[in-house]
């Protein structure tokens, strides 16, 4: 197996241009996701899905007074417009979300056809020609990433441009990103770089800076695509403590087996008991 490859998405330099969304669709021939004005800042694609494999979230942070809980008095982050308290915004967070390519990927665990597989780059990919559209993977994903395409039935998600990687190219989104907010490379290297980056930002007075998905000991064994965030994960619509949904399966099977044995035993006892009465 080749070196495990990954994405490091550094949201502190994301300018929300959505070039990643467009480049992804161009390369992977992903259909449009509908033309819906959502009135949620500049986000009109809503979230990751079968037809959106990169999604840029836009979070307008309301201005808070320094005495208010959560006030960012310690932050040198982008200050918002001048004006009275309660006016304007403190900042505008942008973040390009993507499939996390988990170390322990539940989608892969539950796939009955083997359509989902782990590539030689350590990424998780759906094989379109094998997927039967059962949809088990959809509720299995702790991040709500993988999704079935309505008019097609099959499941789709980011492949980390498996085909481009096979050709020695970086994924389309990383290639198109003008500010290197999306970085692609060997996962270990990216983790080290991200650690340096987050320390630097904190040193510059941005205590909210944190890594998300970079820890190999988290509930999914660490993400192949991890992030540098400037606020709580929930602010970006990310689960704070994701756990691989198949984590408890072995225990559940044990309980189920125990329960089954009990049932068999009780049934047998019941017959035995009847026999005794006779």
């Amino acid at each position: 197996m080749a070196e495990r490859m990954g994405f490091f998405t550094d949201t502190s330099v994301c300018i929300g241009c959505k070039a990643c969304e467009v480049a992804c669709k161009e390369w992977n021939d992903v259909p449009d996701d509908g033309f819906v004005f959502r009135a949620t800042s500049y986000d009109n694609t809503g979230g990751l899905g079968a037809d959106t494999w990169r999604h840029v979230a836009f979070i307008e942070q309301p201005r808070r007074g320094p005495e208010e809980p959560g006030g960012r008095e310690g932050s040198k982050g982008p200050p918002g417009p001048e004006g009275a308290e309660g006016q304007g915004v403190e900042g505008w967070l942008m973040s390009s979300d993507v499939c996390k390519h988990c170390t322990h990927a539940a989608c892969l665990d539950v796939c009955p056809t083997g359509a989902l597989f782990r590539t030689e780059f350590g990424t998780v990919v759906v094989q379109e020609d094998v997927c039967n559209g059962c949809g088990y993977c959809v509720p299995a994903c702790p991040y709500g990433v993988i999704d079935r395409r309505e008019r097609d039935g099959r499941a789709f998600k980011c492949t980390m441009c498996y085909d481009r990687q096979l050709g020695g190219l970086e994924p389309a989104c990383a290639k198109a990103c003008p500010t290197d907010s999306i970085q692609f490379g060997p996962l270990e290297e990216l983790r080290a770089r991200a650690q340096e980056r987050v320390e630097r930002l904190r040193g510059e007075g941005r205590p909210q800076a944190r890594l998300y998905g970079a820890d190999p000991d988290d509930g999914v064994g660490g993400d192949g695509a991890f992030f540098l965030l400037l606020d709580e994960p929930e602010v970006y619509g990310l689960p704070p403590d994701p756990v691989v949904t198949t984590r408890d399966l072995p225990a559940m099977w044990r309980w189920a087996a125990g329960a089954a044995l009990c049932l068999v035993g009780a049934t047998a006892l019941s017959f035995l008991g009847r026999g005794g009465n006779r």
Partner: protein
């Protein structure tokens, strides 16, 4: 910049990572604001007050880079005793004629230059200023005389009351932090932070750069916005030095190129002025009025004769004035909006529209469509059937009953165009960088490049010429480019080589200094001379950064002469030494007796710093070894512009033509020289009108391109911003009764449109002159058709047709409007609503 130039913005992000402090001044909080140190929301149309207060801060506290200012600017030059400032005349400069609303600029000249200073002056021709003014009827610019003195009287102590420095001090004294707060809505604390940052970051060791786009230019005082920034940057010593300058973020895909090799009515390639009928009968007449004789502009005969030789070849001889008579002539203002008015009046009968969509993209689109509907013929070339080609069957005037298809006699020819990947040629990018594009694939079907269209149209016209004298200019034109492939595509490289020019031996020239006035050289655009040096397409160079120095001279080719920073002689001190090691860029090597450095020196390579011009010297020989601004008649950076501008030698704050406020600085409300049209098709909102209480500003989004012709038909872009919306603050939404995600109706005297509502804290109300001013932001990418997957009302239809008097750019960034909840009426009811506002 992140919104509209995201690729270029990566360098701002990188600079910030390396410690640069970045400010963003914009009415709304944008994607740029999100990545900078400080966002200063400003009232649209008030930037001269902010910049003027920075100038005042520098002058009052003596923070200017005095050595630079004394040596390289006209600070010490003494101005005519006839000059009167806005301080003296309550908002007017001397020379204003209220009858014509034009200035006679002769009193602005340097002492002793008299009327002659009003002759066309190079700097303004470069920006198109003087020629525009002339075309508009300010004939004195072109006919006032020859060049101004290269050595005007000066007072190096800067104490003379009429020296430029003292005039500046008096003029900007009223631009204070308090007026910034009063007029712009920017607090004194925020202003102090900005002022401290830019002055601390200027001088020998450091430089500050300003970047702007149409947020500065689309105003009735647009050229003066840039002038204000120029004064500030000259005072701080930030011009001609690395990391300094004023960066115009021009439109994508060769907008810079379209002024260098112009698609403008008033200039020829290389900013040579377009000759004027009756005034410029001969080449000598023309050259006498085509700019100064000192500085590099003094070689104008070489530039012009070489251009005429490129166009008319062997037919152009000394005996026939090199076919100067073949050039078309101006008879007045032939600018975009005047052309439209003439269409409505019936004097303009035919129209070529190539890669533009004026029915949607121009201000006051209704007037545009009435113009189109009154033509005999219209040719539209574009990638898709844009609205300009279909207005006759689906324009908004059909819905209101103002037009009926059967009444429109315009014959429309639509010719599909090749896209940028389907043709080869150069883009000239915003920093004057020419980059060659290779063709990736053939255009589909009947689509052809603009080059192919123009060339083959020319060929067909030439086949129909008679032997008549009137056809001689076209008959004698050199029109013989090699054709390639079965589609007979003319060779773009051959065109680039013609633009570069050739010498007597037929070989490509290497620099504009090789051009001759005797007809022995040919050159299609003097500033591009050298792009094909050594018979190599220099624009196609792509040497990686790691294989060359940090200026990267082998990445593409920059005009002129591959210089990456203009006027870079100013990066060294008067003796020719770098101002500091940290900012070393170009310097004098005394041992070798030449200028050297990281960039190509923008100076004669062997002119020593101590060179003094002899009396009566001409062209570059008239400039001293300490004169970096080699295109200026006196070699100086102009803090005060003694000629060339149509609305004053110094910037002054005027309110936008449509403003909810009076002018807090002067008795004159708006720019007295602004251009307006008196036509029922171009109505204006009354100033300070309670019926139009809100400030309207327009802009672009990253996801779309201009009027949407290239982005609305593409699903991957259209889905990202699928509907027209207006951005309003929560306070304004509450005041008007707007709901996020609902609908709003926006009203001006021109029209009524509807848009979805985006309520956002990124737009804030401003406290200005004791009032709360609300600004409404509208991106302008939508229209009714154009093959668009997404459609919407036309924002530019709301805008007034009122222009900057120098360059005839419309005031698209600051107007007034009213806002109502809900959708707009349709059909006749829409006209009734406009009438209701009109009749009050």
């Amino acid at each position: 910049m992140a919104e509209c130039h995201p690729v270029g913005f990566q360098w701002v992000v990188e600079a910030r990572e390396r410690g640069a402090k970045v400010f963003h001044i914009d009415p709304r909080f944008t994607r740029t604001s999100a990545l900078v140190d400080r966002h200063l929301p400003i009232r649209a149309g008030s930037d001269i007050v902010l910049l003027g207060a920075l100038i005042n801060h520098v002058l009052t506290d003596g923070l200017d880079f005095r050595e630079y200012v004394l040596a390289y600017t006209n600070a010490s030059t003494i101005v005519s005793e006839h000059f009167r400032d806005t301080e003296d005349l309550d908002g007017l400069f001397s020379g204003f004629d209220p009858e014509t609303a034009r200035y006679d600029p002769s009193s602005w000249s340097y002492e002793g230059a008299g009327q002659e200073a009003a002759a066309g002056v190079r700097a303004e021709q470069l920006e198109g200023g003087a020629r525009h003014a002339e075309a508009a009827g300010a004939e004195q610019y072109g006919s006032g005389g020859a060049a101004m003195s290269a050595r005007p009287p000066t007072d190096p102590t800067l104490r003379h009351p009429r020296c430029v420095y003292q005039i500046l001090k008096r003029h900007f004294a009223r631009y204070t932090p308090e007026t910034v707060e009063e007029v712009c809505g920017i607090s004194r604390e925020a202003f102090a932070e900005l002022a401290e940052a830019i002055t601390a970051n200027s001088g020998r060791e450091r430089t500050t750069a300003w970047a702007y786009a149409v947020g500065w230019t689309q105003h009735t005082v647009g050229a003066q916005y840039i002038r204000t920034a120029s004064i500030l940057q000259l005072l701080l010593g930030n011009i001609g030095r690395p990391g300094g300058g004023i960066l115009a973020l021009r439109g994508h895909a060769s907008i810079q190129g379209s002024t260098d090799i112009p698609t403008l009515f008033n200039i020829l390639p290389g900013y040579l002025p377009m000759p004027h009928a009756h005034l410029h009968e001969t080449l000598d007449d023309y050259l006498a009025h085509a700019g100064p004789d000192t500085g590099f502009w003094g070689r104008k005969r070489s530039y012009m004769v070489s251009l005429l030789k490129a166009w008319w070849g062997e037919s152009a001889t000394e005996d026939n004035d090199f076919c100067f008579g073949h050039l078309p002539r101006l008879t007045g203002d032939h600018s975009h909006y005047t052309t439209v008015m003439e269409q409505i009046a019936g004097t303009v009968k035919g129209y070529f529209v190539m890669g533009e969509n004026p029915a949607v993209g121009s201000s006051g689109g209704r007037a545009q469509r009435f113009g189109l509907a009154n033509l005999d013929w219209l040719v539209v070339r574009d990638l898709t059937l844009v609205e300009t080609a279909t207005f006759w069957k689906d324009g908004p005037e059909l819905a209101t009953g103002e037009m009926r298809t059967e009444d429109i006699a315009t014959e429309v020819f639509f010719l599909p165009a090749a896209s940028h990947v389907e043709k080869e040629g150069t883009f000239t990018n915003t920093q004057r960088l020419l980059q060659w594009r290779h063709k990736a694939l053939d255009p589909p079907g009947d689509c052809r490049s603009d080059l192919s269209f123009s060339y083959h149209l020319g060929k067909r016209i030439r086949q129909r010429l008679s032997g008549d004298e009137i056809d001689r200019p076209l008959r004698e034109l050199t029109w013989d480019y090699p054709e390639e492939g079965e589609r007979a595509e003319p060779s773009a490289e051959a065109v680039l080589r013609e633009i570069n020019g050739v010498g007597p031996d037929g070989r490509a020239l290497s620099a504009y200094t090789e051009l001759q006035p005797d007809g022995s050289t040919r050159c299609g655009c003097w500033i591009y001379c050298g792009v094909y040096a050594g018979e190599v397409n220099q624009a196609a160079r792509r040497t990686p950064g790691r294989e060359q120095n940090w200026v990267a001279p082998e990445w593409g080719w920059a005009w002129p002469a591959n210089r990456r920073t203009l006027y870079n002689r100013a990066s060294a001190d008067p003796e020719g030494r770098p101002w500091s090691e940290r900012k070393a860029y170009v310097w004098w090597d005394a041992g070798r007796g030449e200028w050297t450095g990281y960039d190509v020196p923008d100076f004669e390579p062997r002119k020593p710093p101590d060179y003094l011009p002899p009396d009566g010297a001409l062209a570059e020989e008239a400039l001293a070894g300490t004169d970096p601004f080699i295109m200026q008649a006196d070699g100086k950076g102009w803090l005060f512009a003694p000629a060339g501008l149509a609305d004053g030698p110094l910037p002054a704050h005027y309110e936008p033509h449509e403003s909810p406020l009076p002018n807090a600085l002067y008795g004159r409300r708006a720019n007295p020289a602004r251009r307006t049209y008196h036509s029922p098709h171009t109505p204006y909102n009354p100033p300070e009108s309670p019926r139009f209480p809100y400030v309207l500003t327009t802009y672009r989004l990253t996801e779309h391109h201009t009027a949407g012709g290239m982005s609305r038909p593409l699903a991957y872009l259209a889905e990202l911003q699928p509907e027209l919306f207006c951005e309003v603050s929560p306070q304004l939404a509450a005041e008007v009764g707007l709901e996020n995600g609902g609908w709003a109706t926006i009203v001006t005297s021109r029209t009524v449109i509807e848009a979805r509502v985006l309520v956002t804290g990124r737009v804030t109300p401003l406290r200005v002159q004791g009032r709360t001013i609300h600004q409404v932001g509208l991106p302008y990418h939508w229209a009714w058709g154009g093959g668009g997957l997404v459609t919407g009302d036309v924002v530019n239809d709301l805008l007034p047709v009122v222009l900057d008097p120098n360059v005839y750019i419309q005031e698209g960034k600051a107007a007034t409007c009213d806002l109502r909840p809900g959708r707009r009426p349709a059909g006749r009811a829409l006209l009734d609503l406009i009438r209701e506002y009109h009749d009050g």
